[in-house]
């Protein structure tokens, strides 16, 4: 048993932190609130990240990746989250590449994974078609004779992605399909995003060619599998963001003085910072559990991912919100940094399903594992 990063993993993590603090300062993140030049800057950052091999950290060497493993990818994710990196890494790697690895044919894997690992193409995952969780809506996107019709909205990173995995119905039910987003049958509309460092788009498909990924009618089950994996990885991005929010607030509380002393000496402030720390530590413990479950392909993964998702969403949401409060008036200004974290915290808490749905999965898991003694016959 070992409940921490190994020495090599810790070294990878600190190298990632050094790189990102040099190449991805918060000024770069803030620039994405503005216009196009920032888009180019974040594209350049993504290319640098890809050149370091991070995209392929968990992609096997045989498929063009580094084959380091999931704990290493988690370490990278934590640093990307800390830096609020304005790159489509989560969509392309935690969602799209994981989907290809989970369900793709040998041909699809060998065609897509090396290019994803090199960062030559960016992938995304499209499940939403309107308000509410996709599980509670019928899918209007449909495929006939290999052609897709319908609208997905919103698609995270759909403004920059080259390829998408998406859920659509065919004769056999809902399946997962791969679409080339650069095809003329795809109309892309970039939308204003709550967190402009991560884009959202409306994708309209009209007679767009697609190919199925995985079995017919397996779409919803595959999306669940992808979400389990993405949730574990995104929890590390949330953890990184939560830690940094706490640090920003702590540093400000040490520097800002009222009534003759630093505000960090007042218990009202100290106790809130302590509460942030407690939430972050619980989130870290569950995230490590998810990292282990990912790395060892453990059957506990759905449970571990759900715990990490709920704990990390809570921690980052709380830290980002209370960091603004501790910064006082300056905290609500455009120029100050706390709102960048506040935006990202909410982005990440809904990006692969909102926390309430994951909490319900945890409750269901517990109910299933604890059969009612008197109603054994019913349960069977």
């Amino acid at each position: 048993m070992d409940f921490d990063f190994s020495e090599e993993q810790a070294q990878l993590k600190s190298a990632a932190r050094r790189f990102l603090s040099a190449r991805c300062p918060l000024s770069l993140v803030r620039a994405t609130l503005g216009e196009d030049p920032a888009r180019r800057a974040s594209r350049a950052l993504f290319e640098e990240i890809a050149a370091l091999g991070w995209c392929g950290a968990a992609i096997p060497e045989a498929s063009g990746g580094l084959g380091l493993g999931y704990v290493e990818l988690c370490a990278i994710a934590e640093e990307l989250g800390r830096a609020l990196a304005p790159v489509p890494f989560a969509s392309s790697i935690y969602c799209f590449a994981e989907g290809v690895m989970a369900a793709g044919s040998a041909e699809q894997r060998s065609r897509l994974l090396p290019r994803l690992a090199r960062g030559e193409i960016v992938g995304c995952l499209a499940t939403a078609e309107g308000s509410g969780a996709y599980q509670h809506r019928s899918t209007s996107c449909h495929v006939e004779a290999g052609r897709l019709h319908g609208v997905k909205i919103p698609v995270v990173d759909g403004d920059v992605a080259d390829v998408a995995l998406l859920l659509a119905t065919e004769a056999q039910g809902a399946s997962l399909f791969l679409a080339d987003l650069n095809h003329p049958g795809v109309q892309r509309t970039a939308l204003q995003s709550l967190d402009p460092s991560r884009g959202v788009a409306r994708l309209s498909f009209s007679d767009a060619p697609v190919e199925r990924v995985g079995g017919a009618g397996q779409g919803s089950a595959l999306v669940e599998r992808i979400f389990d994996r993405a949730a574990g990885l995104i929890a590390f991005e949330q953890l990184g963001g939560a830690d940094r929010s706490l640090e920003l607030a702590r540093d400000y509380a040490l520097e800002r003085r009222t009534f003759g002393r630093p505000i960090g000496s007042y218990q009202a402030i100290k106790h809130r910072l302590a509460d942030m720390y407690v939430k972050n530590e619980l989130a870290r413990s569950t995230a490590y559990y998810a990292a282990w479950a990912l790395a060892s392909a453990a059957p506990e993964l759905p449970r571990a991912a759900a715990m990490a998702r709920v704990a990390a969403s809570d921690a980052f949401g709380f830290a980002a919100r209370e960091s603004i409060q501790i910064h006082g008036g300056i905290g609500i200004t455009w120029e100050a940094s706390p709102h960048l974290f506040f935006r990202r915290a909410r982005h990440l808490s809904v990006v692969c399903g909102a926390p309430a749905g994951w909490a319900e999965r945890l409750a269901a898991d517990l109910c299933k594992r604890t059969p009612a003694p008197s109603s054994g016959a019913e349960a069977a």
Partner: protein
């Protein structure tokens, strides 16, 4: 990161399981009922563990340990799973003995550590006073030189288990002229010494785990002193830091019990176990319990890599106590009016939940209040400044209130 046993750990776990099974079987032959409240059974179990070097696995080898933090965790997991008798020895072994190991003379260590480990002697802590709770360095119990020894007078309070303890770790003021933290000295006392009067405190639960201890001219020898005169605060900090390590466990009804209760309560959706609001809450309690367990495992790794238990240990009790309060309040309300019954003849679970509801407030106070724990995290982990202290450099006798 690896949450599975290595081959060596798996072998150790198998060995522990076999030992527990065989020894619990023998214990059951000896005593009909292994009820946790029975001191005789608990002593017998503790003696068996000590003989097999399982009583305090991480202690130094000369004190019956010699194992690793991971081995201790494996043993504790297996022991709590199999209904072994627990309780009584936590304060002595978890807090008092580590303090003796660090500060007491070799003679004192030889005299007490072995018997405490075997469950032959029970220890309590005599720190808190009516006017010194969170501000424990404000205590007023007086230690006055008396011939070659000392005369102790004062009043202690919240001493868990003092009524069945053999010895106590006592913090007293030996110098009223020094500033508050510098005038303290630590001693050990025989709880049966003349001049000691122990009175159980009647708690809001109806039970009495804590005591008031009155000391009037208790005569003790100078070799009962632990650490130098005037350095009692330094000694006490070691005791208190070990208290944090003990505190962060899941408390109250198990998740299985909570779910069992919910399934017995009708609701609009069928039973409470189908109610969406309940299920969100259940998920939170589940997550908190697992979060606590996993956080303890993380601190194990830190310990096994050579770290010492630090202030980050304070989060355990903070989370566990507030979780218990939340879940007992909610589970009573989910039963609607039926939750009012604490009568064991009718109450679900024999009224245990109503007891825990009344117990939860004490858990948020004992062993460091929520507020003190947050101060510790803020100051010692996050590096925030201490509160304004008007009393630190002033002679204790000049302080008011």
């Amino acid at each position: 990161v690896n949450f599975e046993d290595s081959p060596q750990e798996a072998a150790y776990r198998a060995e522990v399981r076999a030992w527990l099974e065989a020894n619990l079987r023998e214990l059951r032959q000896q005593f009909a009922d292994l009820g946790a409240a029975d001191l005789t059974v608990a002593r017998a179990w503790q003696a068996r563990k000590a003989l097999a070097r399982y009583a305090r696995i991480t202690w130094p080898i000369e004190w019956g340990g010699g194992g690793t933090a991971i081995q201790q965790a494996i043993f504790s997991q297996e022991e709590s799973r199999c209904g072994a008798p627990l309780g009584f020895f936590g304060i002595g072994l978890g807090m008092c003995m580590p303090t003796l190991m660090k500060f007491a003379s070799a003679d004192v260590q030889r005299r007490f550590i072995g018997p405490a480990l075997k469950g032959e002697q029970i220890w309590c802590q005599l720190f808190s006073e009516p006017s010194a709770g969170s501000d424990i360095a404000g205590l007023r119990t007086r230690a006055v030189r008396h011939g070659d020894g000392w005369l102790i007078s004062g009043q202690k309070v919240w001493s868990t288990g003092a009524h069945y303890s053999d010895y106590g770790l006592l913090l007293a003021r030996s110098d009223f002229d020094a500033p508050k933290h510098q005038g303290l000295t630590m001693f050990w006392v025989d709880m049966r010494a003349p001049g000691i009067d122990i009175r159980p405190i009647h708690q809001m639960t109806g039970g009495s785990e804590f005591n008031e201890v009155f000391l009037s001219d208790v005569v003790i020898a100078d070799d009962q002193r632990i650490g130098p005169v005037g350095e009692g605060w330094k000694v006490a900090l070691v005791t208190l830091m070990n208290e944090r390590v003990e505190g962060g466990k899941e408390r109250g009804p198990s998740l299985e019990d909570i779910l069992g209760l919910a399934r017995s309560i009708p609701s609009a959706q069928g039973t409470m176990a189908d109610d969406p609001a309940f299920r969100q809450r259940l998920a939170l309690w589940y997550l908190q319990a697992e979060g606590l367990r996993l956080t303890q495992l993380r601190s194990l790794t830190a310990l096994s890599r050579g770290a010492t238990p630090g202030p980050e240990m304070s989060i355990g009790k903070l989370v566990a106590a507030n979780r218990l309060q939340d879940l007992t309040e909610r589970l009573i309300e989910y039963q609607d009016q039926y939750g009012l019954i604490s009568d064991p003849r009718y109450a679900a679970g024999g009224g245990r939940l109503q007891h825990d509801f009344l117990y939860a407030p004490s858990l948020r106070i004992a062993g460091g209040t929520d507020e003190i724990l947050r101060n510790i995290i803020a100051e010692r982990v996050l590096g925030l400044p201490g509160d304004v202290r008007v009393d630190k450099a002033v002679s204790f006798k000049d302080l008011r209130g």
